[in-house]
């Protein structure tokens, strides 16, 4: 930092736009917005170098409320548009805001490819298991049997597990949190630190069309029994007093919930979390009885936009200064006099 250009200390307010927030009262999106606006200053982000790209849906109104660059695009295509932004200017810090319908239904293809290419973006998928903006139809993450206007006898669609989708696409960073959690900023920071495509599923309550769908997990009283916050290198314990944990069931190659102190189970039986273990992440992504939260998987790999730059440099090295005059004359030319 030079004395002539003091670095401005940004605060939460610097990241809030002047637009009135128009989500329904009680929507989980408010909490997520607050968490993002609180977290960005602590990461050294600047409003001018931060870009939020969204698709269509309730969640996708998000960019309007951020005092950064933003683009509210078309349904499902935010990952592809964000790819273009990042390729045009790799110095930008690009965030994708999407939902369970936008990201996993109409835009599932783009989400798959942005993850496998490992473009350096943060992708926040707000999962409320319902279509909000179109007034309450079941979504690709709705549970079987969900009664909605388009499924009066209950949904017969098998739901997708977002984290499993991401792991299947070979994402290099997969995390999960929920809207009102105090640990959401931590997950956002980890995602931002990761080089490559970071996927964060955020369980989000829709008070109008799917109220309380995550209550057991997010409620202060019941929550501790359902929230397993992962920490790399630490045994995977949960419960009000950390009395429960996950043990590997070797015969079925699965994880089971056990209680420490019962049936001779000790802390040594509890599996230690290893973020770099894809098989473990796969099991953690869809556990019985409990929901794994925090960073499920983190294993850095080649970053697409960096590879693009490497190839550009390689081409410059191999072909030298670009010369239009020579380009037009490559191959065979002749002169008519």
């Amino acid at each position: 930092m030079s004395p002539n250009s003091p670095k401005k200390e940004y605060t939460r307010k610097d990241f809030a736009s002047d637009q009135e927030v128009r989500w329904c009262p009680g929507c989980g999106d408010y909490a997520i917005l607050a968490a993002v606006q609180r977290t960005l200053p602590s990461l050294g982000s600047t409003p001018e170098n931060t870009v939020f790209i969204s698709g269509i849906g309730c969640s996708s109104r998000f960019p309007y409320y951020m005092n950064t660059y933003g683009f509210h695009t078309i349904h499902g295509r935010a990952p592809a548009i964000a790819t273009g932004v990042k390729l045009a200017n790799p110095k930008l810090d690009v965030w994708v805001i999407t939902g369970d319908g936008d990201g996993l239904s109409i835009g599932g293809n783009h989400l798959l490819h942005v993850l496998r290419r490992n473009i350096d973006l943060q992708i926040m998928l707000f999962n409320n298991q319902i279509y909000g903006l179109t007034k309450g139809q079941y979504s690709p993450t709705s549970q079987v049997g969900k009664v909605t206007p388009s499924s009066p006898l209950g949904s017969i669609d098998q739901p997708v597990v977002p984290a499993r989708f991401a792991l299947g696409a070979r994402a290099t960073f997969v995390a999960r949190a929920f809207d009102t959690s105090k640990k959401l900023p931590e997950a956002l920071s980890a995602a931002r630190e990761h080089k490559g495509a970071s996927f964060i599923e955020i369980l989000q309550n829709c008070p109008v069309f799917n109220d309380g769908v995550f209550d057991l997990i997010t409620d202060r009283k019941t929550g501790p029994a359902y929230q397993l916050w992962l920490e790399h290198g630490q045994p995977m314990k949960f419960g009000a007093n950390g009395e429960k944990g996950l043990r590997l069931k070797a015969e079925t190659l699965s994880l089971e919930v056990v209680t420490i102190g019962e049936d001779g189970i000790t802390e040594a039986d509890i599996v230690v979390h290893d973020e770099s273990n894809a098989s473990l992440a796969w099991m953690l992504s869809d556990l019985p009885e409990v929901v794994a939260l925090g960073v499920l998987y983190r294993q850095p790999g080649p970053v697409y936009n960096q590879s693009v730059e490497v190839q550009r440099e390689l081409a410059e090295e191999r072909f030298g200064e670009p010369d239009l005059h020579a380009l037009l004359r490559q191959g065979h030319t002749w002169t008519v006099s």
């Binding site: 637009q19 078309i74 293809n109 191959g331 030319t333 008519v336």
Partner: protein, 625 residues
């Protein structure tokens, strides 16, 4: 071998011809496209004007010997200025019965037919659908036939090289090329050095192909040709002085995009999903990374255009290339770029439609799609290139209009332009006028939809600029603040602004002008796109006969150029030939009080000059009555 090849045996006399059309035809694995392109280069070197047209099947390697696997390459070359690959060939080279079956009908009566008798086995005859060999049943009597066992002579020529049977058979096309070089007095040197380069890592293949090429040539030198078959010469054409190269439309478009971006001072982000006949635009641009081009092979057509829109938001010029089915998928994202007022270039290399249609054939049937094919009132700029070389200038113009007016521009090319080649006088780069983009920097009174009141273009403020943080999107925004607005009057106003911005571009493009003939008279022929050469040639023929015909060719489809209405009004009859079922004609009738007559043709092939002349003559007779 070397000695005899070097000591050229020239025929005592070569019959002089003014122009020749040759079609090379064989199995899609026979190397006909390579043969054709080598003949093209040698012909350019000989100083002729030329035009080529490859015609290949959709199947990459259709079963050998079948009619649907026949690949053709037609070249028209002349001692004068020409603009089309010609109608019916004067010379047909048929490498097998299927090639003869598919092309035999189009060869002019009295035309020269070169056939490889070595491929006329009973099995191949059956596959081509011949009950009796046409070589023996008299059906070819109307042609001058040069029947040669090319297979046997090729194997003989390459036997000392020691190739496997498959590779040895593959030299047939070079043997044939050698014979054609002799017949038309072409030099072999360029092809020999090309073969050495192509097979640098497999010198045996180079040696065998060169041996076959020379053997074909020597065959011509020594063989007693049947009565009526001569060696020919086509004198050099009187081309304008300058430096030339052969260029195809897709090459020209790629280089035009790179040039346009340089004139704008921007990097190119080309997003594309492979599709015939646009794929080699992606291939061409992928080789130009050092020119500031990023190519992104997307997961689908939508992602390809979406990434281009994102890149334009990020401060590059976003470009996407595709064909009609791809444009259909991209239309929502194009609408977003219209609403967000971002520059974007969409190259549509049109092909036969609808749906999958005729992927490898040419057509002009996406004009409606380009002008009107989006939800909402969604105007944009539509340009159409007239010749392969014109693709270069139209690609530059597409970028100029996109960045000057902050709008998507659709550039219409087609399968014919994409793959055809013509001699192209190289442009004077210094004469191209730069149009440098200046990103907005000033935070004072900033809002993202502040406009230049003259062009109505909004300012372009790119992420990374301090103090200009803003949000844009597909929702309607307020004319004065750029914020989301659902106000009814504002929506009407903004719809008009978007319309007026595009309509106003008519003031920034060349006014309508006849390309050939007077600005009034009996018949005006209005064309657009790749039919330029055929219409131009047909009109020239009629004008030489003293007919009152004029030709006007539209390169600006939307907005239409100023003065067009007056010109249309100055002719008794307006005829609109198009390779579709009548699209431009309806556009003209919608925009002007003109009773324009349609001349539609939807065969997947370019117009025949003969057919055009006939249709024009009918109209002229009609107008005389």
């Amino acid at each position: 071998m070397e000695t005899s090849a070097a000591a050229r045996v020239e025929p005592s006399t070569r019959e002089t011809l003014d122009s020749v059309v040759i079609r090379f035809a064989g199995d899609s694995g026979d190397g006909m496209q390579l043969t054709g392109s080598q003949f093209t280069t040698a012909t350019a070197d000989a100083g002729n004007d030329l035009s080529t047209f490859p015609d290949f099947p959709a199947e990459i390697r259709a079963p050998a010997g079948t009619t649907y696997g026949v690949s053709g390459f037609q070249i028209h070359f002349a001692a004068h200025d020409i603009q089309t690959p010609g109608d019916a060939p004067d010379v047909l080279v048929a490498m097998n019965p299927a090639a003869l079956k598919v092309n035999g009908e189009v060869l002019k009566p009295g035309g020269l037919l070169v056939v490889n008798t070595g491929a006329f086995s009973s099995n191949n005859l059956k596959k081509a659908g011949y009950e009796n060999s046409p070589l023996e049943d008299g059906t070819l009597d109307r042609f001058r036939v040069l029947a040669i066992d090319v297979t046997k002579l090729t194997l003989e020529a390459v036997k000392d090289v020691g190739l496997g049977s498959k590779d040895a058979h593959r030299c047939k096309n070079m043997w044939t090329l050698g014979l054609m070089y002799w017949l038309f007095g072409r030099e072999r040197e360029q092809t020999i050095s090309w073969l050495k380069g192509k097979f640098a890592k497999r010198p045996k293949l180079a040696e065998a192909n060169i041996a076959a090429l020379n053997a074909g040539h020597i065959y011509g030198e020594n063989a007693e040709l049947p009565h009526g078959i001569n060696a020919y010469q086509v004198p050099a054409a009187n081309l304008a002085p300058g430096e030339y190269r052969n260029i195809s439309g897709n090459e020209a478009t790629a280089w035009g995009l790179v040039t346009g971006a340089k004139l704008a001072g921007l990097q190119v982000m080309y997003g594309s999903y492979p599709i015939t006949p646009a794929s080699n635009l992606l291939h061409n641009l992928a080789r130009l990374k050092h020119f500031g081009v990023t190519t992104f092979q997307a997961e689908d057509e939508i992602a390809a255009v979406a990434a281009a829109v994102g890149a334009s938001f990020g401060g590059s010029i976003g470009v996407t290339g595709t064909s009609g089915p791809g444009v259909a998928l991209k239309s929502e994202a194009i609408g977003l770029a219209i609403m967000a007022e971002l520059p974007l270039v969409i190259v549509n290399v049109q092909r036969g439609g609808p749906s999958t249609g005729l992927p490898t054939k040419t057509e002009q049937s996406d004009l409606f799609q380009a002008v009107w094919g989006r939800n909402g009132d969604a105007p944009l700029v539509v340009l159409a290139a007239a010749t392969p070389g014109d693709c270069y200038y139209m690609a530059i113009e597409a970028i100029r209009l996109a960045v000057t007016y902050m709008t998507p521009v659709i550039l219409l090319s087609d399968g014919y332009l994409a793959n055809s080649a013509e001699p192209w006088p190289l442009p004077d780069l210094d004469a191209l006028r730069p149009f440098p983009v200046e990103f907005h920097q000033d935070p004072e009174d900033f809002h993202p939809f502040a406009r230049n009141e003259e062009t109505l273009a909004r300012i372009w403020a790119v992420p990374g600029t301090p103090g200009l943080e803003h949000r844009i999107g597909g929702l309607e925004k307020d004319r004065d603040t750029g914020h989301i607005s659902y106000d009814p009057h504002n929506h009407h106003l903004m719809t008009c602004v978007r319309h007026d911005k595009i309509a106003g571009i008519a003031r920034d493009i060349a006014p309508a002008e006849v390309d050939q003939g007077d600005d009034h008279g009996d018949l005006l022929v209005v064309g657009w796109g790749s039919t330029y050469g055929s219409i131009s040639q047909a009109v020239r023929v009629l004008r030489e006969q003293g007919q009152q015909v004029s030709h006007l060719h539209l390169r600006n489809i939307w907005p239409l150029p100023e003065g067009l209405g007056n010109l249309l009004d100055s002719f008794h009859t307006v005829l609109v030939p198009e390779l579709n079922n009548g699209q431009l004609v309806k556009l003209l009738r919608a925009e002007y009080p003109v009773d324009a007559v349609s001349l539609p043709r939807v065969t997947g092939l370019p117009f025949h000059i003969g057919g055009l002349i006939q249709a024009m003559e009918e109209r002229l007779q009609g107008s005389a009555i």
